[in-house]
């Protein structure tokens, strides 16, 4: 019992702090500007507990909380991106009368994401996802109260709650199928029931399991904004503040993907074939839908919304490959069992995408003159002359999202697409589904480059219409620079790639023309030694 509490200590720190904020806000003596510093301090404290816990707790076992390399890496990512977001809000919240509540809610969202990544139990997973969603509804409602904002809040709320209900209905079937809410126990039970010799196609499971699978995919599809569950995203991004739009582009998506990995990839043994098909189809339509619709947009936040949808599609490629690798460990070039290459690539891409998104939205927070937001893409005209440093940083994020080497977005796309190309239906035959997936992905990367480059062209090749009067404050500018520095550092992706991939070398994946390619590595699952029935 105490051990389980210890395992979620970083989340507990954040949760308690959020409660203290809301309590403290009732006493007027605390200056409004200080909440931001307290929130940053809280994130640092959570980081310290995470760091010192790293070696202190036993791994594996059948606790409700899974502390493994996935959860730990994801939690560090949450804290870093979370700190960037808190920094961005510093100036705009300095005089806000709801500053305390605002920061409390942001901390709760981060806490929820960290809980989801560590959940080894359906209840905890579901509550973690809700801890991401419910504060987001309130955040959407706090900062902007005009007509458009209310419409955005209402839409997001109703669709998000429907997705939660779909997810819960799916969980009910998982529970009925396995008789446990404990994910690694469920995995053991499903392995006993459906396991076949590695490399043979799974027997297919049961109808109940497939229904659960589809419902969970639908529920999480809303969170990650996958087509056809995406339609709320553009309206909501447009109808809210840049900060909220940025948070929505990152937090629910990250939580949705990590939940997908926890509850589908790591649990649903025996259902890999239907899962793989669903993921391939979702990935294809999501990439294409997002990119094609993004081409038509003239509102910056709508454009970024469709771009975030397209990126969810790319990440679904990794999820699909992950399902295939789960029952084909010896055929994939990655070899070994455990956290498969497809999923590692998704995690890498998730971090890279979050960084670029956070940076871009920080630009949108910093740039506008008081009382007016950046709406039309022409508002960015000539930024290269009026705000050179900011424009260069923005171009860096856009290039990274477009996948231009050597920026991290390129390495992310490369590992995702190579993962799909490495799939074999027989030892020497390409798998046509995955081949098509990789081709559609590559075409989409080209379509995506079109609208990212159009933005860059508007910033650098056109004469400025007016001189901007940035009102976002120095902290937002610092957040832009920090995100840009991190993105640049990740242009040397080997440390992070080998972190997500685990240990071991993986020859054979070398980018043509790259003088010093990163070494792709296989992964050995060290942390999950005791998976199975208790």
């Amino acid at each position: 019992m105490t051990e389980t509490v210890m395992l979620v200590l970083p989340q507990t720190v954040l949760g308690l702090l959020a409660c203290l904020f809301i309590l403290g806000a009732s006493f007027g003596s605390i200056p409004r500007g200080s909440w931001n510093s307290w929130a940053l301090l809280g994130l640092v404290a959570a980081g310290c507990t995470l760091h010192f816990l790293s070696d202190a707790v036993p791994l594996g076992g059948t606790t409700a909380v899974a502390v493994d390399s996935l959860s730990r890496g994801f939690q560090w990512g949450c804290l870093i991106i979370g700190a960037l977001f808190v920094l961005m809000a510093r100036e705009s919240q300095a005089k806000s009368e709801t500053a305390a509540e605002f920061h409390a809610l942001v901390l709760l969202v981060i806490c929820g994401m960290m809980l989801v990544s560590a959940a080894n139990e359906l209840i905890l997973l579901f509550l973690g996802l809700e801890l991401v969603s419910i504060p987001t509804y309130v955040l959407l409602y706090l900062d902007r109260r005009d007509y458009a904002a209310q419409e955005a809040t209402t839409k997001y709320f109703l669709l998000s709650i429907l997705s939660a209900a779909l997810l819960l209905y799916g969980f009910a079937f998982v529970y009925g199928l396995t008789g446990t809410t404990h994910l690694s126990v469920a995995r053991g039970i499903l392995t006993d029931a459906y396991a076949v010799a590695p490399g043979l196609p799974p027997t297919g499971g049961s109808v109940l399991g497939v229904v659960a699978l589809v419902l969970i995919f639908a529920g999480l599809g809303f969170k990650v904004a996958a087509v056809p569950f995406h339609f709320y995203a553009p309206d909501v991004y447009q109808g809210t503040t840049p900060f909220n739009a940025g948070l929505l582009a990152v937090a629910p998506k990250a939580a949705g993907f990590v939940a997908m990995i926890r509850v589908l990839s790591e649990t649903m043994v025996g259902f890999e074939v239907p899962a793989e098909r669903v993921a391939i189809i979702l990935a294809m339509i999501t990439m294409t839908g997002g990119n094609v619709l993004a081409l038509l947009q003239t509102n910056v936040r709508r454009l970024l919304a469709y771009s975030s949808i397209a990126h969810a599609g790319y990440m679904l490629i990794g999820i699909a490959v992950g399902f295939w690798e789960a029952w084909n460990p010896q055929r994939s070039l990655g070899g070994e069992t455990g956290l498969p290459g497809g999923i590692s690539a998704t995690l890498f891409y998730l971090f890279v995408y979050s960084l670029a998104s956070a940076g871009l939205f920080a630009v949108l927070i910093y740039l506008p003159r008081p009382g007016r937001q950046i709406e039309h893409i022409d508002d960015l005209t000539g930024l290269g002359r009026t705000q050179p440093l900011l424009a260069i940083a923005a171009a860096l994020f856009l290039f990274s999202m477009a996948g231009i080497p050597p920026l991290p977005g390129f390495w992310g796309k490369l590992s995702l697409f190579m993962g799909a190309l490495n799939v074999r239906s027989a030892p020497d035959t390409l798998h046509y589904g995955f081949l098509a997936l990789a081709i559609v992905g590559a075409i989409n990367a080209a379509i995506g480059a079109a609208y990212y480059l159009r933005l860059v062209a508007i910033m650098f090749l056109q004469d400025p219409i007016s001189v901007p009067q940035p009102s976002g404050g120095k902290p937002a500018f610092a957040a832009v620079l920090l995100a840009a520095a991190l993105s640049l550092a990740l242009s040397w992706p080997k440390p992070l790639l080998s972190y997500v991939n685990g240990i071991g070398e993986r020859p054979g994946v070398v980018a043509a023309g790259d003088p010093d390619p990163p070494v792709y590595t296989t992964k050995v699952n060290k942390h999950r030694t005791e998976v199975g029935s208790p």
Partner: protein
């Protein structure tokens, strides 16, 4: 009445679920939509409790449904605040009246 078993409960839960989704899709009134959500959540709850009761799986399912009931209450609180704010601006809670964002 013999023969009321797991299947019957699952059918009831399925009906609740479908009614909820249909309700969410067709209702114009924000509160009506919210009631649809409650139906879907309760459909899932019935499933959990039925699985828990009829397949001797222990109390996990019932614990989940308790959590979900509390969660639904929390969501209803936020939902009512949002609906109230919507009403203050639009003087109606007809969700179709929020139609400014398009593209």
């Amino acid at each position: 009445m013999e023969g009321v078993g797991l299947t019957e409960y699952l059918v009831v839960a399925g009906i609740l679920f479908v009614s909820g989704v249909v309700c969410m899709a067709t209702k114009r009134n924000a509160i009506g939509v919210l009631m649809g959500v409650e139906l879907v959540l309760n459909g899932a709850n019935v499933n959990f409790v039925a699985f828990s009761r009829y397949t001797k799986l222990g109390l996990d399912g019932q614990v989940i449904s308790l959590f979900v009931i509390v969660l639904a209450a929390a969501e209803a609180a936020v939902a009512l605040a949002i609906a109230l704010n919507f009403y203050n601006n639009h003087l109606t809670i007809d969700v179709d009246r929020g139609d400014e964002l398009k593209g």
